[in-house]
């Protein structure tokens, strides 16, 4: 496919020094209704100490792609293609045993719902100490000491006593902190955060984002931060990847994507959320329609049925041909509109609406 080689060409120069490098990742599930193409041709890099924000709606493939990186997918019904390298080590071809050594050690993950992600049957301390004992060979006492230290680091008061509590005895914000402690107990170099703030209240959400930033500064961890909240992205991400229907549709720095988005989907997202200081008389501009089914995605550009700018593209290119992820006006976007068209739509229609 020509689209494939093109996107490769753009990424090739920076591929060398990236800490996490994902190339042409493709994830498919077999389900009773057919094959779901959950992730297609996903390519991105993440450098040491940086944060990549992945934005997308449910079913956009943002979580699935990262489960594949961790090797946590169900091998029975999932096929994964492409390459994922972490610090030079290939992950997709690695054995379960090798992956087990990396997980919780070099790469770790935190989840949206900490109550569900912590086993209700074991104490917080035990669950934090478990990976530490496994990966460093520490004994129970050392594991417990480490758990207390980690709880203190993530800001849990009285860690010596709280270490013996069960998850249900913690409040929502504290559970999230405990889960972060559990993920960071072996000082991983890569942290994948799957919507870690979505279920939290705004004040707690702000606390958790601050905590992650502080911890990143201390230890130089690279973070993949998955969310649908552009406000949180603004707070934490260096680079942003926007996903739609299993594909990357836009990729650039946080500022590029939030300020000079080059994709109709990005424009739609920005115009559909109310701003805390925007004019209240301007109605929101929702994206019409619903996210597509991955069992039977639209042909051509997957966003075309919901796109307001389809008529600006000559012919039926949007329906027949999938746009490649290309450089346009400074960063990568996958849209058939010409860079000039994109720029004029952005400056004439989108930005005025956002700043009103």
């Amino acid at each position: 496919m020509s689209t494939l080689t093109k996107s490769e060409a753009v990424d090739a120069p920076q591929a060398g020094n990236a800490f996490l490098s994902v190339r042409d990742l493709r994830v498919r599930f077999r389900t009773e209704d057919g094959i779901v193409n959950a992730v297609n041709n996903l390519t991105f890099d993440l450098e040491q100490g940086k944060t990549l924000g992945i934005v997308g709606e449910s079913g956009s493939g943002k979580s699935v792609s990262n489960l594949a990186v961790m090797g946590l997918h169900n091998p029975r019904n999932t096929t994964i293609e492409g390459t994922v390298t972490l610090d030079g080590q290939e992950l997709l071809t690695a054995s379960q045993r090798e992956l087990e050594k990396l997980r919780g050690n070099k790469m770790a993950m935190i989840f949206q719902d900490a109550l569900a992600a912590l086993s209700p049957y074991y104490t917080i301390g035990r669950q934090i100490a478990e990976p530490f004992m496994k990966h460093t060979g520490a004994n129970k006492k050392e594991g417990r000491e480490r758990a207390i230290e980690m709880l203190r680091r993530v800001g849990i008061p009285q860690p010596q006593t709280r270490v013996d509590d069960f998850p249900h005895q913690f409040s929502g914000g504290m559970r999230q902190r405990a889960m972060i402690a559990m993920a960071l107990v072996c000082d991983p170099q890569l942290l994948i955060a799957d919507e870690p703030t979505t279920a939290l209240d705004v004040t707690v959400q702000a606390q958790i984002v601050d905590l992650l930033k502080d911890l990143q500064q201390e230890s130089g961890t690279s973070i993949v931060f998955i969310t649908h909240d552009l406000g949180v992205i603004r707070e934490i991400a260096d680079d942003v990847l926007v996903m739609y229907a299993g594909r990357a549709v836009e990729r650039g720095t946080m500022r590029e994507v939030l300020k000079t988005s080059q994709h109709p989907y990005g424009w739609g997202l920005l115009s559909s959320i109310p701003r805390i200081n925007s004019s209240v008389d301007v109605p929101l501009e929702p994206i019409p329609g619903t996210p597509p089914s991955l069992l039977n995605p639209p042909t051509g550009c997957a966003f075309n049925p919901r796109c307001a700018y389809r008529e600006l593209v000559d012919g039926d290119k949007c329906v027949t041909e999938r746009p490649p992820l290309e450089l346009a006006n400074g960063h990568l976007s996958a849209c058939h509109l010409t860079p000039a068209q994109k720029q004029s739509i952005l400056t004439e229609q989108i930005l005025p609406r956002l700043s009103s």
Binding site: T203, L258, P291
Partner: protein, 363 residues
């Protein structure tokens, strides 16, 4: 008591019409059982504790706060899905707080509810037509042209294909289901809709669709809303007046401009500053980071309930509960429950965070 200042409603709302709903000292305590050897009530979760506000005809009142602040319980009390422990709810002057099933029946049809979860709030075994016509059937209402026509009409109003009345909920997406829920709420021509987090379970791109739909209904059909949500931006977008709740109490209520630009209660201020904004250039909001968690409603702090997390708290806050009043410097209808309110002036905010500005309070 704060009630006194409220009986003469200071109409700050732009749509200040006739008072539709009058809530006074509304309280809900969930009993906690314990004791030995026989169980008895040993305490109470003070989910809602003395909440007072009005809703005017055709206006939208936003109810914001963090989880556990009692905003959803308040919504359920208003619709009498829960029985209040104390206080009164008056609908068009009629006390419905403890009205019997029969007495409340005609009013029930005028107050409807939209729920958060579009998946569990629709019976999966009923067709959309049955779901929407259900309220008409129960209340024995026969609209001109028949119920089936009315269902189609309603589906059209909420932006769904009227020919789909024979489908089941699982054939619709989340956003469409929420529209079905809206159509069901509209079936009885309500005057007031309690919307409990109506968009928070939806995808970002879908949220705006539902918000716009509800806004259209409010404008065109003149339906009043109590809009319960935790997302400050959406509440601001949707509601003319906003009440902020903390641990079962309203700490501040004002029309939206006053609340969002001149918050007087430290909690409102902190909440606003914590709300993430997607604009990388918007640095106007200074960051206040609350520490710790919301205390347990089983045993709330004495005096001002926010004092345990408040950077301005003094001794007085622990001993004396601040009443919800129009404190000095507030516009009419802007009520704040705080002994040491924030300056409210945007320019002086930073200074205020450092030195508690003890502006005159009227208590």
């Amino acid at each position: 008591m704060s009630a006194k200042t409220l009986t003469e409603p200071a109409d700050a709302a732009p749509t200040s019409g006739e008072t539709l709903l009058e809530v006074n000292g509304l309280t809900k305590h969930f009993p906690v059982m314990g004791g030995f050897p026989f169980k008895r009530q040993v305490g109470a979760v003070q989910a809602v504790d003395g909440v007072t506000f009005d809703v005017h005809k055709g206006e939208s009142l936003g109810l914001v706060g963090e989880s556990g602040c009692g905003k959803s319980t308040t919504g359920r009390l208003l619709t009498r899905l829960l029985e209040p422990t104390g206080g009164t709810v008056k609908y068009l002057g009629q006390d419905i707080t403890h009205a019997s099933r029969k007495e409340i029946a005609p009013i029930r049809s005028e107050i409807q509810m939209i729920f958060q979860d579009p998946y569990s709030s629709l019976n999966p075994r009923h067709t959309v037509g049955t779901i929407i016509s259900g309220p008409m059937e129960i209340n024995n209402i026969n609209p001109a042209g028949g119920r089936a026509n009315r269902v189609k009409e309603l589906l059209e109003i909420v932006g769904l294909n009227p020919e789909h009345f024979n489908r089941f909920p699982h054939e619709f997406s989340g956003g469409q289901r929420q529209r079905i829920g809206v159509a069901r709420a509209l079936a009885l021509n309500p005057k007031l809709i309690i919307a409990d987090e109506p968009v928070s379970a939806l995808d970002v791109s879908i949220q705006a669709q539902v918000v716009n739909l509800l806004q259209g209904l409010q404008r065109e059909l003149g339906i009043a809303f109590v809009f319960i949500a935790h997302d400050l931006s959406i509440v601001r977008h949707f509601s003319q007046r906003v009440a902020v709740m903390y641990l079962g109490k309203i700490v501040e209520i004002a029309d939206r401009d006053a609340l969002y630009t001149r918050p007087r209660h430290p909690y409102t201020h902190a909440l606003l500053s914590a709300a993430p904004d997607a604009d990388p250039d918007n640095n106007s909001i200074e960051r206040i980071r609350l520490t710790g968690d919301v205390p347990s409603p089983l045993n709330p702090p004495s005096g001002c309930r926010f004092r345990t997390r408040c950077w301005k708290a003094q001794e007085k806050c622990a001993t004396e509960e601040p009443p919800l009043l129009q404190i000095g410097g507030n516009d009419a209808g802007h009520l704040t429950a705080c002994h040491f309110p924030e300056d409210g002036d945007a320019a002086a905010k930073r200074a205020a965070a450092a030195v508690p500005a003890a502006r005159t309070t009227e208590d």
